[in-house]
Amino acid sequence: MMLDRPDQGGEVPARGDARTKLTMGPVLFNWDPKVWRDFYYTIADQADVDSVCLGEVVCSKRAPLFAPHIPAVIERLRAAGKEVVLSSLALIMAPREMDQMRELAATDEFLIEANDISVAALLEGRDHGIGPFVNVYNEGTLGFLAARGARRICLPTELPAGAINALQKFSAELDTELEIMVFGRLPLAISARCYHARSAGLHKDNCQFVCGQDSDGLVVDTLDGDPFLAINGPQTLSASYLSLAAEIQALQAMGIRRFRLSPHSMDMVKVADVFRALTTGTIDGEEAGTRIAEISGSVATCNGHFHAASGCRSLCL
């Protein structure tokens, strides 16, 4: 249902208030390079988001595929007034991967988001971001990283409301902003092994980029046929889509002022519109749920982690 704006209390910022920001996270999947480029062009031109992350997070083999389009994408995003954030790999093993990350860390034109502690270490002393793949579970770690230049931290997705609240209270004393992922398949695990290749009977070294066939990941069902997980190369995601639409108000009440949307093949401009309307208090969680179902073709959603329950659960506030 639509809400009458004047009824909203002081906690919810007014429409257009710069206090609550939206980040479009990095594309986690192996999209065709042109699709990848066009997605970011569309986000640049049409999406009501403040920051946009790009860069390969999941598999270093994919990075060269879309690399030629990066300069044009950055230019387009900047022209549209959006902050560009470069995301690092999450699991760095080979010397070649480490070298790529050293190069990334040497860039000082953009905010770099470290998804592995090695990259945060390379950025020590300079302003940088910490992605959801780095384990920031408590004040001790948050304070340590903040003191070394972490200005923005997207928290791990398994944290419940209580932990988010405690960390937000703590970070209010620091010059570090917390970001919470509120939409998209949950990134649950990363491995050295490529499950996409394995599922196709291939080896990772000769994977034929089979992960490119599944733009939102390949759904893994249980033996009963229940959708369970989704694989994306060496990454495992949830089959359900995280949606903290109904929790946005509670998060804002804690003081959280930045939310992350994780890109999928659905219309992410519309998804961003829904979350923008939530942050401004124009619509409520129920209305948002209806709209997300329309946009996504009724994907199953979950929010259990926020409620200190199994992450796969979809619970009411």
Binding site: A90, I92, M98, S118, N135, Y137, A189, I190, D226
Partner: protein
């Protein structure tokens, strides 16, 4: 050996009985945890009270065996007390090292107990030289337990770039995901290795019979089904049978255990210091047999002899062995 120190055999203990079995079977060091969620094997009925640790420290030290205390979960926001107490007690009791994963806790230990030796847990997933140097520089860690994602050539390359000791898993349960970066269990049960110290907790397991089939479930999801006569496995999430792309398979990993007993000399060549056996939740019979087998193999290697590796297949999940990520083909 060319003057290098002998490799150290690091063995698990979930109970004092297991600890004694490990010491008697030739462990150089035993790792263990307190009976709470400060360590990554927080299973019901397992682990050590403070008094048990104190008593067994004397026992182990009296027999030349070191004790490492794992405090390797991630402290809860707003409630770091149990983790800080675990570190304080480890220092007070005089353990030989603590094994930590969390940056904040490593920082606490470094400031509070600078002389307490610190090892970096596998749960920190430090898989490259920059990460390892970060932990060395920031917290003076002396040893890093490497995540089970690296090949032997990668481990060798890594050891050439770092100054701290490395320890690797050579036997036991195999995480197929990068450790400390997996919330599959949390997604299904609300209990995670990182925060609760458990994966696929027994409290959420259900076995049901459907005719001759035995179904294992974890939380709301079926993890596996076994036909009549087929050995049943514990429903560890990543070792279940699932359907993807029209095929039913052990998509992530077969029910199998790591066994690198045939790779010890290669690991030594790669510069590894510690050889770690997984299985704090396993019984004393397992501990005794596995530790003895590795002790014999290491001793033979040090003497320049080659011995036939003991058959440990009866102790592995599904009776199957793998060398895991140590060989590139695993990926």
């Amino acid at each position: 050996m060319t003057g290098a120190a002998a490799m150290e055999l690091v063995c698990p203990a979930g109970t004092p009985a297991s600890l004694k079995a490990a010491v008697a079977s030739g462990a150089d060091a035993v790792y263990l945890g307190f009976r709470d969620d400060t360590n990554a094997r927080n299973f019901p009925g397992l682990n050590f009270s403070r008094a048990e640790l104190e008593e067994n420290l004397d026992y182990a030290h009296g027999r030349g065996c070191k004790i490492f205390l794992a405090v390797n979960t991630f402290p809860a926001a707003g409630d770091p007390g149990p983790w800080h107490r675990a570190v304080d007690d480890a220092a007070a009791l005089g353990v030989d090292a603590i094994i930590v994963a969390d940056i904040g806790l490593a920082d606490y230990a470094t400031r509070k107990h600078p002389n307490l030796r610190r090892h970096l847990s596998v749960q920190a997933s430090a898989s490259n030289p920059e990460s390892i140097r970060f932990y060395q520089r920031s917290f003076g860690v002396k040893r890093v337990v490497l995540p089970r994602v690296l090949t032997i050539p990668e481990i060798a390359a890594l050891n050439r770039e770092i100054e701290v000791e490395t320890e690797v898993f050579v036997f036991g349960g195999l995480c197929v995901m990068a450790e400390g970066r997996c919330s599959l269990s949390s997604y299904v049960t609300g209990q995670s290795p990182n925060t609760n110290g458990v994966c696929s907790p027994a409290s959420h397991v259900q076995y049901t019979s459907e005719g001759d089939r035995l179904i294992s479930r974890l939380g709301d999801f079926t993890i596996n089904a076994f036909e009549e006569g087929e050995p049943a496995g514990y429903p560890t999430l990543c070792k279940g049978r699932f359907c993807a792309g029209g095929k039913t398979s052990y998509l992530f990993e077969e029910p199998t255990s790591l066994n690198a007993i045939g790779l010890l000399s290669e690991l030594r060549e790669a510069g590894v210091t510690g050889l770690k056996i997984e299985g704090r939740q396993r019984g004393k019979a397992y501990i005794a047999k596995v530790v003895k087998s590795f002790r014999d193999a290491i001793d033979a290697m040090e003497r320049g002899e080659v011995i036939a590796p003991a058959d440990l297949s009866s102790l592995t999940e599904g009776g199957e062995n793998t060398t895991g990520a140590y060989e590139r083909a695993w990926r």
